[in-house]
Structures are given as C-alpha cells and as structure tokens.
Symmetry: C2
Subunit: 342 residues, 2 copies
C-alpha cells in the first residue's frame, strides 16, 4: 500500500495539452495563466477551468529558461539555531514570499568556504537575487557574484561600501556602546565572555577600543569555541573568567543565552546581580532584561534586518536603485527598575 513507486505514470499535462483542451494556442494559454490582462475574459475562464480539470502544474524550469527569470532567491546564514538569525531569515523569507519570490536557504556554519561551495551550486539555478550574511567572503565568492550580475544584499553587518547593498549594524559600535554603558553604570573592570565567531570578535574589538580610548584597564577576554548559544555554558564561562582574573566586576556576553546562563550561575554562587556583578547580554531575547534582573543588553532587531533586506533586494530585482547601505543600528537597553552598582 504505502509502497509508492514514483513511476511518473500518466505523463503530467503540459501547456500544450492545456491549450488543446481549452481550444487555444499554447501561448494564449500561457498568457491566460500569467498575464490575464492580455487575454479576453472568456478565454481566461476557459483556460482556467481546463487547468483545474487537467490538474495542470506549470513547469517553471522551462519558463525560467526562456524568460530568464526564476523568482528564486538564494540566501545563506551561518546558522538558524540562533534566534537572531532565525528571526532574520524568517522575516526575509516571509517578505520575499509576499512578493512572490521563493527562497533557497543555505547554512554556512560560519565558514566562508562552505558559503562559496553553496553559492557555486546555487548560481546554476539562476536565482534572481542573492542574500549573504556578513561581509566576509572568499575571493571566488565575490568573483562569482560579480559575473553572475544579479542583485546581492549582505545582511547583519553595516559597512559603508558593500558589494552591492547591505543592511545591518556596526559590530564595533555595538561593542563600544556596551563598554560605555557598563562604565556609566559604575563598573570598573568589565570583562568579555564570548563565542569564537568573527562578529563577536569584532564587538570585542570595539569593546577593547572603547576601554583604550577611556584609558581604562584592558578588559579580560574569555573565548570559547562553541558557536551555538548555550545557557549551559554559563557556569563554565564564569568559572573560566574567575580563573583568569578575579577582579572583573561585570561581563559583556556575546549572546543573551550566555548572559542568562551566567546570571543563573551567579545566583547559584550567591553573587548579587547587578550589585556584585554586572551582566550584559547581546541579542533579541526579552528574557535577560525583562524577566530576570540582568543588568542590560545590546538589543538587535533581527526581523527588521531581514525585512529591510528583502525590501532592498526586491527593489533591485525590479531594477530599482535603493540605498546601497543601511545602518539599522542597535539599542542599549537597561532595565529601569534595576539598581545599578554605584
């Protein structure tokens, strides 16, 4: 019974069959389906019902081959296991779908070589547009994209001169803002707890730079390999930090999940947050700030980036010229009711 065989039984009806059924020429059938305004109402109806009767499913491979338009967008992200990216991708896919574009999704696992391999494969499907995450790519990736001659949007990072268009925020500035915030709250020795990915690294650079500019002591940095946001890392991270230095009075975490984990472990240690330890997150999770007495967070709106990115890409795919780079910024959020260390 459930041993289906996929035999391609009776050949699926083609446009020709449909046209015959409706008593028109193939091209008229095509127009009735895709450009109804070019066809008499009565014809349209006949074709339509013929399509329904015969169960006609258009073949967009053939269509795309002739029209040089696929309504396909190729998008790649490092992971969808992080809510920042999954929000972004979700919004992107949804916005593109509303404009009748479908999205093929690639996952790079933070690896530009994977990205390159994926892109090379994808380009053979002749997508109408490409979405990349970040602005670090291999030379071949750039070359391929350049000669493919299609719109490209780079999401997540803001840089003034992207390949084509970009929507995001400056990682460096986010890091600087975090440092300034912690200092303003009265913490003297903020440290960094972060995952080993290039964007977290750039935020850390901003953080360090801010410290240097203020002639503050250089913040200690604890880096661990796992990319996936792990609440469970909280204990580990905090332990590693204390092993490395015992005078840190605040931590800037590379994700909200990590911040949450740190918070939980701080509680377990009997450490008072935010009085004895400041905890700062990064991301879009309400939790650290709204539910639990974390100190503060750098808030990013991933969905907004995805939406704007889709918008820019669509405009370009239609031949428009939207702004090549948008800085959507970030927000430093502190919970009003939280007593800061004074």
């Amino acid at each position: 019974m459930s041993t289906r065989s996929f035999s391609r039984g009776a050949a699926a009806p083609t446009l020709k069959d449909l046209a015959r059924l409706a008593g028109v020429s193939p091209i008229t059938a095509s127009r009735a389906l895709h450009r109804p305004e070019l066809v008499a109402e009565s014809t349209r109806l006949r074709v339509q019902s013929a399509a329904e009767q015969s169960g006609y499913v258009p073949n967009s491979l053939a269509g795309g081959l002739t029209s040089r338009q696929t309504r396909l967008v190729a998008a790649i992200v490092p992971t969808i296991g992080h809510s920042l990216f999954s929000d972004m991708v979700g919004a992107l896919i949804t916005a593109l779908a509303e404009a009748r574009y479908e999205t093929t999704l690639g996952i790079s696992s933070y690896d530009v070589e994977h990205e390159e391999t994926w892109l090379a494969a994808m380009l053979s499907r002749r997508p109408d547009g490409v979405v990349l995450t970040g602005t670090e790519h291999t030379m071949r990736t750039r070359r391929l994209l350049l000669s493919a001659d299609i719109p490209v949007v780079e999401l997540w990072d803001y840089i003034p001169h992207p390949m084509d268009a970009a929507v995001g925020f400056s990682q460096e500035e986010a890091g600087r803002a975090a440092f300034h915030h912690l200092r303003a709250c009265g913490y003297k020795r903020p440290a960094i707890l972060r995952a080993d990915d290039s964007r977290a690294q750039r935020r850390a650079q901003g953080f360090l730079r801010a410290a240097a500019e203020l002639q503050a002591p250089e913040p200690v940095q604890v880096v661990f390999p796992e990319q996936r946001p792990q609440l469970g890392r909280g204990r580990e991270a905090l332990t590693a930090l204390r092993a490395k230095c015992d005078h840190a009075d605040a931590v800037f975490c590379s994700s909200d999940a990590l911040a949450q984990g740190v918070l939980a472990h701080a509680h377990a240690l009997g450490l008072n947050v935010p009085q004895q330890l400041g905890v700062m997150g990064f991301g879009d999770q309400a939790l650290a700030v709204d539910c639990v007495p974390a100190l503060s967070t750098v808030r990013i709106d991933g969905a907004n980036i995805g939406r704007l990115g889709a918008q820019d890409l669509i405009a370009r795919m239609r031949g428009g010229q939207p702004e090549p780079a948008r800085d959507v910024g970030f927000a430093v959020i502190a919970r009003a009711s939280t007593a800061l260390k004074s």
Copy 2:
C-alpha cells in the same frame, strides 16, 4: 560606483561555448563535467580548464528540464523561531546538502492554507522531494502531492500510516507521559499551560486522557494565542492559571521557554519550585532542566528528526523503500538532584 546595473553584459558562456573552447562537442563537455568516468582523462582536463578560464556556470534549469531531476527539495515548517523546528530544519538542510540536494524553505505560520499555496508554487519547480511538518494538510495539498508523484516525508508527528513516509513522535503519548510523570512525583492537580497550536493541543489531549484513565480530576487548561515561545508569557500564564483555579500544584507547559518564564515568575512570587509548584517543560532546551531547578521536561531531539527525515527522503529519491513511518520517541527527563514534592 555601486550603481550596478545588472545589464547581462557579455552573455554568460554556455555549454556550447565551452565545448568549442575545448574542441569537443557539447555532449562531451557535459559528460566531462557531470559523468567524468565516461570520458577520456585528457578530454576531461581540457574541458575542466576551459570551464575555469571561461567562468562557465552550468544552467540547471536547462539540465533539469531534460533530465527530469532538479536535486531540489522543498521543505516547509510552521516557524523557524522555535529551536525545535530550527534544529530540525538545520539538520535537514545540512544532511540534504551532504547528498548534494538543495532545500527551498517555506514557512507556514501554522497555517495549512499557506502550506497549500506554497506547495502549489513549489511544485512548478519540480522538486525531487517534499518535506512537510506534521500530518494535517488540506485535501488539495494531498491531491497535488499525489499527482506530483514524488517522495514525501512528514516530520515531527508519528502516525502509523503517513501519506508516504513519516518521522516523528506521538504528541498524545508525550502528553500522557507528562501526566504520568507529574503524578508519579506526587502532584495531585497538574494543569496545562499551552499555546494554541494543534500539536500542543494534541499533547494536552494525551494529558487529559491519562488523567481520565487514572480517574484523576480533569486538569485545568490555560490556552493563549501566541505561538512564538515567549519567556515573557510566564507571568501572564501563571496569573491566568491562578485566576482560573487556585488548587493546581503543577503545570505542564507547551514549551521550555514558557516553563522557564513560569519558573522565573514563580520565583518572583516566592513560590517554591518544585515543592509548592511543579513545572514541566517540553522541548530541547537544556535550560529548564540543567540550569535552573525546574522539575522536569519532555525532551525532543529535533535535529535527529531532521537527520532521519533527510535520510528517508534521500533513500526514496534514489528509488529505495525505507520504512514508511518511524517513531523516534521522546524522553521524560527529571533532574536527579531536584527534590520532588512528596
């Protein structure tokens, strides 16, 4: 400068150009690229270098049109904003990519009509396989799939007789297990706190059925519309529950995030967990169980479902006959160090 025009400048080289460059016929060039074993080593090399020089990018629209194979898989999930699904999709995409299939992702927002619309559009791309989430679909979805005559895998839910193949677990059983667990821990009046989606509803049914079977009082149920897992809902949910009934001594939450939120709010209320209130989650997040003294959780391995689903689909796309339905089950996890209500 960055006013790119997408002019399709010099026409991209086709297989014909490539063949001329290498001094062979188009078909030989094609074979050299895709079926090297059919071609002399020297020819292969010449074609290869011609490809590199000319920057040849194959056109798989044309290829797919003739070969009736696209190496494209169409997959749809309700959302990727929930780690259960994003893990599943991530594993699916990765496993398919390893077998050289690309994935186009749809997002249904828990709506079978969206799913239908998406599927109808996708089928015109002639995917080699389709992945759906769950087993509830419209009639037209089923009809389309049936006449498309391609392998289909339904993920997430286990049912004995799927459309084609299915990998998942029984929502009902998960709910029953949750109830039994809470009872075994000594809770007398467990309640349900859940989002309004059909799977959470089925788990609730299992929960209620278990209660009925044990002749326990019927558990109170609080349902709220938001689908996205929200820690912030914890307060709301707990308040609603207390308004509805004040004797519940445990809650089965429809997601780990919700459980976490409830936990946080319970702490805020000075409620002792698990002594005064049992909290049970559902999902894959370590947090509720490992970081915080939540009572327990029903643990699902989303990535595993994605991986197995990919495996089954690949086997079927290659013409094989894997098991039509796999129950991957779930695990009830209780934290050993947690004192249970006695």
